[in-house]
């Protein structure tokens, strides 16, 4: 079914345009690329994939070579290692494959980065609950930046409307729809807190999620098996699951991507906020920080004594949520 979908897509757009030139440098063409301990497993499924390949041949306008290349790429993608144990070259290879596959599917170019963490950087986030007005510009920016599924309206950020005088999430509303800020209320955003002791990482049976050197908790979308144990383990509702094939209209796809960040996901895998890893690792602020019209969101390197986030931590009265669980979130709240 899935095979048919992608094939149908091909027919409609591949028919109108020249097949993309085949560039056979930078990635291996077929399944015989490298001999690994997975060799046996690869052979085992060879028949299966060949069958799928034949099925798509029958309805494809794209040339034979393209099809062969595509199947080879898909093949290598399926049997690649977990990203965290890949060598730099392997990371480079998978990123190139992903870029090429997208180009073959849509005719459009994307850039997928595999940029690693920078030394002496530990990202932290502070949220000013006196400033947030509940406008939710952050949510829009996040969805657009991170290529989240539009059909289920997946969102990483939740803005909770609290009545003055209490911080009780059970009584807070996150489905308000009226003019904001509402009289006598204040607003509080939650998202993945990138804990220093992330319970979601411990429970993953296949090490598909981990904490990077710069403190960002990431997921290898291609390694996740979709058991959702991490979802049960997260005390902050920081994780999201793709209950179906995520849909992002091609023209809305953010093409500036990172392997561990906003690259396109698939059905049946987890995803979450990555502090916009594709932006933050390039020195930019996450999309939510940039979009916030009130300056309620502060982001930076908490190891840098001259950073604003450090000033907030040292000079304001900060608190974190559910500190009793020992998760050590790197997401603080403060008031003016």
């Amino acid at each position: 079914m899935k095979e048919n979908n992608s094939c149908g897509h091909n027919c409609s757009c591949g028919g109108n345009q020249e097949p993309a030139p085949i560039n056979d440098t930078g990635f291996s063409q077929t399944g015989d690329a490298k001999t690994s301990r997975r060799g046996a497993l690869k052979k085992l499924t060879l028949g299966l994939l060949t069958g799928a390949g034949m099925a798509s041949t029958s309805c494809s306008v794209v040339g034979d070579d393209d099809l062969k290349e595509k199947n080879g790429l898909k093949w290598d993608e399926f049997f690649k290692e977990n990203y965290r144990v890949m060598t730099d070259k392997e990371r480079n290879d998978t990123v190139t494959r992903l870029e090429r596959l997208y180009e073959m599917n849509t005719g459009k170019k994307i850039s997928v980065s595999s940029k690693g963490a920078t030394d002496n950087v530990l990202y932290g986030y502070a949220f000013n609950i006196s400033k947030c007005q509940g406008y939710m510009d952050c949510v829009n920016a996040c969805v657009e930046e991170n290529n989240q599924d539009r059909s289920t309206e997946m969102q990483y950020i939740r803005i909770h409307e609290h009545k003055n005088g209490q911080i009780n999430f059970e009584l807070a509303k996150d489905d308000y729809y009226h003019e904001v800020p509402a009289e006598g209320h204040f607003y509080m955003g939650t998202q993945c807190f990138h804990c220093e002791n992330p319970p979601c990482v411990d429970v993953c049976p296949v090490k598909a999620t981990w904490k990077e050197e710069d403190g960002i908790v990431v997921i290898d979308y291609d390694w996740c098996i979709g058991c959702r144990y991490c979802m049960a383990a997260c005390p902050y509702d920081g994780r999201r699951f793709n209950w179906q094939q995520p849909q992002v209209p091609e023209e809305e796809v953010n093409k500036d991507q990172h392997y561990l960040g906003n690259r396109l996901r698939k059905n049946g895998v987890m995803e979450k906020c990555t502090f916009c890893i594709q932006r933050s690792r390039n020195g930019k602020n996450p999309a939510c920080v940039e979009a916030c019209p009130t300056g309620a969101r502060i982001f930076g390197n908490i190891l840098d004594p001259n950073s604003e986030i450090r000033w907030v931590l040292e000079n304001k009265k900060v608190f974190r949520l559910k500190e009793d669980l020992g998760t050590e979130p790197k997401f603080w709240y403060f008031m003016d």
């Binding site: 319970p199 390694w223 059905n267």
Partner: protein
Amino acid sequence: MNQLKIFRSLAKDSISNAMQGSRSYHVWMGVLTFFMLLGAYCYYQQLTEGLVVTGMHDNVSWGLYISNFTFLVGVAAAAVMLVMPTYVLKDVDFSKAVLIGEGLAVAALIMCLAFVTVDLGGPGRAWHLIPGIGLFNFPQSMLAWDVIVLNGYLFINITIPLYILMSRYQNREPNKKFYIPGAMISVFWAVGIHMVTAFLYAGLPARPFWNSSLLGPRFLASAFAAGPALIIIILEVINRYTDYKIADKSFAKLAVVVTVAAQVNLIMLISELFKEFYAQTHHSLSAVYLFFGLHGKTGLVPWTYASLILNVAATAILTMHLILKSYRWLTVACVFLFIGIWIEKGMGLIIPGFIPGSWGDIVEYVPTWIEIGVTIGIWAMGAFIFTILAKSAISIEMGEMRYKKSE
């Protein structure tokens, strides 16, 4: 090589044995096949559309599948209540029932693995779980532990009965030196699978409803009530429909096990209820939802009370039996107990763990028909496997099926 030949012959005989039977047997197997096909169709739907076709969502991210998985781990563990007395303590009363018990364990384990597999978002990537080829998060992840203990238990429960049956098949007395150590290991292992499965939930401080030290012991108590209860029901059926007769003594002994376990389970339930309701905190909200509903959402309340009534009634009947030394209502009590614990350990445990959600959201969960179809399909598959295993075992035990050298 010779063993292989014998095994091949055994498999062939078992298959031909499974093909023959009375009319009611064929109807039974036909019905199971129908439900299995139905389940397969539903699973096909789920595979193509994604888990969106189930009733699960971001708030309640585990549902019927994981509920049944949890319950069936208990059923699988219960085989040990027959294995231990027979093999380790040399109690001959159970010897006729023990192979049935192990067959049940095998069927229950296969169902467990099937339930976990259908719950995966990417079953095609399940090979990431294979140590060596994939990347296994051991010993941090309790799910990794669970994969090991479940497969290990499956291995033990296949090899021991297979060895015994192979011996009997060749008219030989099985060598105790081989199977007694295996049986010993399986005793620990049975406790292990259940404790590990309990720890899977108990190890999540994010879900206060599960994060209780009583969860493991309570799992054990309910498992040793529900499992042997199911064995009693099955033995009753075998007694009635086959020539393989189980001694009344075996029933009586099993009844004692079930009764004690059910009583302990009730005591633990009371202790949990006291803790949740005497001094209610934020962490008691799941229990409040389970027993009374929250904010007008009362989806689980009727189930909870049904489970409570069934459990109490069954325990009362079983206790009376023990006092009066009569077992008139034994099967009824066992059916009550089985259903009661199925509700309690399944939806009564998994779903309220997610309600209220991390930020207090109360979003209820109702399984869809597709989900129910897959679940029924897996239960049918379990029953199918068990029927074949039990039929072959009985035939060998009764001497109807024997290895013929000439073949």
